[in-house]
Amino acid sequence: MQHDIAQLIQEQVIEAHRSQNPVEIISNGSKHFYGNSIQATPLIVSQHQGVINYEPTELVITARAGTPLDEIEKVLSDNGQQLAFEPPHFRVFDTTRNRSATLGGTIACGFSGPARANAGSVRDFLLGCEIINGLGEQLKFGGQVMKNVAGYDVSRLMSGSMGTLGIILNASLKTLPKHEHEISLSFSLSRDQAFEKLTQWNLKPYQLTASTYHNDTLTVRLSGNAEAVNATHKLLGGERLENSPEYWQYIKEQLHPFFKTDKPLWRISSKPQLDIPLTRFDEKIDMGTDSLSEWHGTLHWIKTTVAADNIRKIAEKLGGHATLYRQGVSKQNTSIFHPLTTPLFTIHKNLKMAFDPKDILNRNKMYAFNLHHKS
């Protein structure tokens, strides 16, 4: 579907800037659970849809931000290509329509799927985008070519900025050929053994495109040329998974039984490791069933009621950060995103000022800059 409402979006931002009434950018709402909940006038961008340009041999697709990933991935798949960072769709079923992730929301949240450790994240594939900043100015950065170092990399800055710096109107992403073949292997291993294997395999040129560790089981995906994949399988051993694509689909979409929980779901990003020392804060936690690690031991999902501060301390110790990804049944009294150090917070605040001086775009969605108290 082709539908261009850029002007309408711009008018609403200009009005919000004038009146200093903040807006909340909403598309299909598939990721509405993510980020701080805020009170602001909804600014609906889902109608801004359509693939603008796609030439398979250029390995680039350009689409409006409201375009569903379903539509983009269908077009790519018809040409033997894919979004190699495997973004989740987080489909929401409701009575009126079937809603799932859009291009803009995916970039704004900076979400990538199981392939991330091997293939890169959404920001690695982002080549350019057009935005409307908090002043209502329509701006274009980057482009549709692989290499472009003219000006600051504002496109990638948009990735993961949760709409707080600008509303993405359209974006260009690098595409890649689909893998010819993929299989998944599982291994019954302790944490230490699994980590040793992952480390060992990571030093080899195997196409290890995804991995999970959960319930004493290491599962890895091998992708690429069929013969090469089979040769690697022989070297690694393990038990072959019957339903490889479904397994990774369930991990990506968080439909795997692990993700069914009433507890808060934490996301810890760390240096590679599988040992997350949480038991000293939560004696009842069963790290076998209450945690699931992905991305070759650099991403850990944890279901726990341990206090945010303790989780964040551990995440920092592991060389990373912790995000309260889903709140669970009871609202948690903590910031969703990992607090920033003072000098980093100052840079963030200055950048927010540079793009959205009246703090009207998704105010407080990520961090509370409190710019509007000044003016």
């Binding site: 990399d153 090469a228 240096k271 990992h338």
Partner: protein, 484 residues
């Protein structure tokens, strides 16, 4: 600020031998790889530690002295070209590899470490650092981050921005800040992306953690010659359309082929209109199958000759020709000017045609070397700076090539950066609001504009003054500005 009192203050931070103030000592710092522009700096300092840099920056900040960071000085866009009253902060002495960690497949390095030295250090673990700018023997990793350097393997492995985890910077106020982190992502905005390619305008890069990759099991290069550029261009598209992502996909035109062959004796067919170098890497089986596919594609596109490297020595020799293309072309004329535009791949034959037309118009020969896989052009314009107005005509010619790149949907720079060289072309690629946004980003980091001022982003007035040069379709760019 008077020079002598300022030097005395520097002596409190650095040994006297690390502060250069004499004309002869300053001379090596008057230009970088873009030697057409020269300016003696006010002072040069050579700190050895982060603490010293912090003290120097604080001193400069309180005295409003502009600071220009400099790595190995191999940059091609004048990014570290001095200004009259500036201090050049050389990072050459921060040249240690602090740690190579096979578990996290990363290396923690100081900014003055040479690009190739990282791969050398990682070799013991079967790892390497992927981005490989042609200057990798000499260029430093700090400069690579500042410029977002590329190389011949970008199509498959990305640019610098895709291959780093963490960068430590010193802000203009002298504060040490970590951007990115040891994990794959970090909290907050993607400041790692913002600092990469920011050309020294946002902070001083003092430490970098790079990602390392396993050395592929096998790499083979295929050399195909063509009687016309169209066939070579079509081959590039066909390879991609067949689901193959080569590690490198390079194209050279006849003048570049002849020069490279005379220089490196790589066995290039000197009568070919164009050659393609296609490197495949990965598992042995995977490479063998892909080579077969590429071989068929090349044949279908009427290649006049085809050669596949049989061993590492032959692979290195075939690459030697390409890697020495710049110095080889350098022997054809007293001077050459290297351009760095990017275009969608499909426009390759078209832009080559237009470059040839311009070459005739300006009566200046051009040798073309392309990173064809990612549409990055390096036309090398041959000229003689001793001939009156030839440099000016060369720059005008180059400017027109870059305008063509923008018109075809590309960019004025793929990997060399804007620096001072392409600052005018920035007015073509970006409108006033976009340039203003860049200036606001700069101010978010550096309110007083002391870090590499005047580079990378033109002032709106500069664009207005140039307006006449870039009138498209009768539309005057930046119409809102006064004309001078």
């Amino acid at each position: 600020m008077q020079k002598q009192p300022f030097i005395q203050k520097l002596y409190q931070i650095l040994p006297e031998s690390s502060v250069l103030a004499d004309k002869e000592e300053l001379r090596p710092y008057e230009c970088d790889g873009l030697s057409a522009y020269r300016q003696l700096p006010w002072l040069v300092v050579l700190p050895e530690s982060i603490l010293q840099i912090q003290q120097i920056i604080k001193l400069c900040f309180s005295n409003n002295i502009a600071v220009i960071a400099r790595g190995a000085g191999t940059g091609l866009s004048g990014g570290s070209l001095p200004q009259e009253n500036c201090l050049i902060l050389s990072l050459a002495k921060l040249n240690k590899i602090l740690n190579v960690d096979p578990v996290s497949r990363s290396a923690q390095v100081q900014p003055g470490v040479r690009n190739l030295a990282i791969s050398d250090a990682a070799k013991a673990y079967g790892l390497y650092y992927a981005p490989d700018p042609s200057s990798q023997i000499a260029c430093s990793i700090g400069g690579n981050v500042a410029e977002n350097a590329g190389g011949v393997h970008c199509l498959k492995y990305g640019l610098t921005v895709n291959n780093i985890l963490e960068v430590k910077i010193i802000t203009v106020e002298g504060e040490l800040v970590t951007l990115g982190g040891q994990s794959l992502d970090s909290a907050g905005y993607d400041l790692l992306a913002l600092i990469t390619g920011s050309e020294g305008l946002l902070g001083i890069i003092v430490e970098i953690t790079v990602k390392l990759l396993p050395v592929p099991e096998k790499a083979q290069v295929l050399l195909a010659a063509f009687d016309n550029v169209l066939d070579a261009g079509k081959t590039v598209g066909d390879i991609i359309a067949n689901g193959i992502i080569p590690a490198g996909l390079e194209m050279m035109d006849n003048l570049a082929i002849k020069a490279a062959e005379d220089f490196a004796h790589a066995g290039y067919p000197k009568d070919a209109a164009a050659i393609l170098l296609c490197e495949l890497d990965g598992t042995t089986i995977g490479v063998e199958q892909s080579i077969q596919k590429v071989k068929n594609i090349v044949k279908q596109n009427n290649a006049s000759s085809l050669r596949i490297s049989g061993n590492e020595q032959e692979r290195a020799l075939i690459w030697q020709g390409r890697k020495s293309a710049f110095p080889a072309v350098g022997r054809l004329a007293p001077d050459y000017y290297c351009m760095d535009g990017t275009i969608p791949k499909k426009c390759l034959p078209d832009i080559l045609d237009k470059i040839n037309q311009l070459s005739n118009e300006y009566n200046l020969p051009v040798a073309n070397v392309f990173h064809a896989g990612d549409g990055n052009l390096h036309p090398l314009i041959l000229y003689d700076a001793n001939i009156d107005d030839e440099l000016e005509r060369t720059e005008e010619f180059g400017g027109k090539i870059l305008q063509l790149c923008v018109e075809m949907g590309g960019s004025i720079t793929g990997e060399h950066g804007v620096g001072i060289e392409k600052i005018d072309q920035m007015c073509v690629q970006f409108n006033s609001l976009e340039l203003q946004q860049f200036h606001k980003i700069k101010a978010a980091f550096d309110q007083k504009s002391l870090l590499n001022p005047g580079k990378a982003v033109p002032t709106l007035h500069r664009c207005a003054e140039l307006g006449g040069m870039h009138v498209h379709d009768g539309k005057l760019p930046h119409p809102e500005l006064e004309r001078f």
